[in-house]
Symmetry: C2
Subunit: 209 residues, 2 copies
C-alpha cells in the first residue's frame, strides 16, 4: 500500500452498538460499495478475541475492494492481522512508541483537537490527523469540540491530510469539506443507516461536488 | 531472563481499584520486598496511555529486584515496554498469534479452567497455566470455578507450571499448594492489604513450609 496515495475523503469508523439488526461485515461491505474510501475498526467494550476476529473479517472485505483498513487504538490487533495502520487518540499509545512497533510503512493517524496537538502529531510522524468533534456526537460523548473555524486553522497549519470527525452526516458533511478537510469520518450516518450503501453514496456525492 | 528458571510461587496480580489510598508502584515494591516472585499488571478500564505509563513504572521496580514482570492481555503494552511476557485468557489473543508477536523468549501464560484448556494451551506453547478461580473472588466475577480436585487433575495432566488463582489469601493458600500448584496468584490479599510487605511475607512463609 502506498501511504501517500490514500484517499481519506469518506472515512468510515465502525461502532457495533449502532448496527441495530445489521451485520457489521455486511454493513462495511455495503458502505465500501457505496463509496467509502477507508475503514477504521473502532470497538470498545469487546474482548481482545472478539476484536481480533472481527478485524480479520473486515480486513478481508476491505482487501477485496482495495480499501485501506486501520484499527483504533489497539496496536496488538493491528500487528496480529497486519492491518494497514492504526488510529490513536491522545489517551492511547504515544506516537513514537506506536511508530516503533508498527514500522515506517504503516499508516498512523492521530486525533487532534487543537493546532498545537496537530502540529506535534505531524512533527512526530503522523500520516494524517483526525480532528473533532466538529459537531455534537453521541458516539464519543467525551470528545472535545472543534469549531469549523478551528478546523480550518488546523488544516492551514499542517501539511498532512486532515480528516474531520464528530456528528458528520449528509446535512453537515459539506461544511467540513468547505472548511478545508481532506476527508470526513462518519460513524452513525452510515453504521446506523437502514441502507449503508445508499448512505455512503449520498455522502460521497456531496464530497465530490 | 531464563524462562525455565522463573519462580511462580508467589505471583502478584495488580488491580488499582483495590489499592485504597495506597500508591500502586509503592505497593508493588513492598510486595516484592516481602517475597513476591512475579508481578502481573492487570488493569481494566484504563486508557492505553495510562496502562503504558503504569507498566513502565512497575517494570522499573520489578527490574530493580530482578522479578519477572508480565502484562495481562495487552500484547501492545508488553511490546512497547519490553515486558518479560504476557498472560492471556480464553477471550484474549489466540496463543499462536501471541507467540508470533512476542517471539520464543517471552513468557506466555494462559488461563485454563479445564484440563482440556490446559492441555491445549501447553501443546500450543504456553509457558505456564493460570488455573482458577479456585475460591470465590470479587476481582473477577465472571470467572469459572475450579475445585481443588480439578486443580490437582490439571496439575497431574500437564508438565508446565500451574499457578492457582482466585480468592487466595493467607487462610486458603496452603490448600492450593497442597493440591499441587506451583504457585499462587494473589490480588486483593496483597493489593488491598494495609501492609503489602507483611501480607507478602506471610503468604511466602506459608508457601515455603
Amino acid at each position: 500500500m502506498d501511504k501517500k496515495a490514500v484517499d481519506y475523503s469518506l472515512y468510515l469508523v465502525t461502532d457495533r452498538e449502532l448496527l441495530g439488526n445489521k451485520d457489521l461485515a455486511a454493513t462495511v461491505e455495503e458502505a465500501i460499495k457505496g463509496g467509502t474510501t477507508l475503514v477504521q475498526i473502532r470497538e470498545k467494550n469487546v474482548s481482545t478475541l472478539d476484536f481480533f476476529e472481527l478485524a480479520l473479517v473486515v480486513k478481508q472485505i476491505a482487501g477485496k475492494y482495495n480499501v485501506p483498513f486501520i484499527i483504533n487504538d489497539r496496536i496488538d490487533i493491528a500487528l496480529a492481522i497486519d492491518a494497514d495502520g492504526v488510529h490513536i487518540g491522545q489517551e492511547d499509545m504515544p506516537l513514537a512508541v506506536a511508530r516503533k512497533l508498527l514500522g515506517p510503512t504503516k499508516i498512523i493517524g492521530v486525533s487532534a483537537s487543537t493546532l498545537e496537538e496537530a502540529v506535534k502529531a505531524q512533527d512526530g510522524g503522523a500520516d494524517y490527523l483526525g480532528v473533532g468533534a466538529v459537531f455534537p456526537t453521541r458516539t464519543k460523548s467525551d470528545a472535545d469540540h472543534v469549531s469549523l473555524a478551528a478546523l480550518r486553522r488546523i488544516k492551514e497549519g499542517v501539511s498532512v491530510p486532515v480528516v474531520a470527525i464528530g456528528g458528520i452526516d449528509k446535512d453537515t458533511i459539506q461544511r467540513v469539506i468547505e472548511a478545508g478537510a481532506d476527508g470526513a469520518a462518519v460513524v452513525s450516518a452510515i453504521i446506523a443507516s437502514a441502507d449503508p450503501y445508499q448512505a455512503a453514496c449520498n455522502l460521497r456525492h456531496i464530497i465530490k461536488k
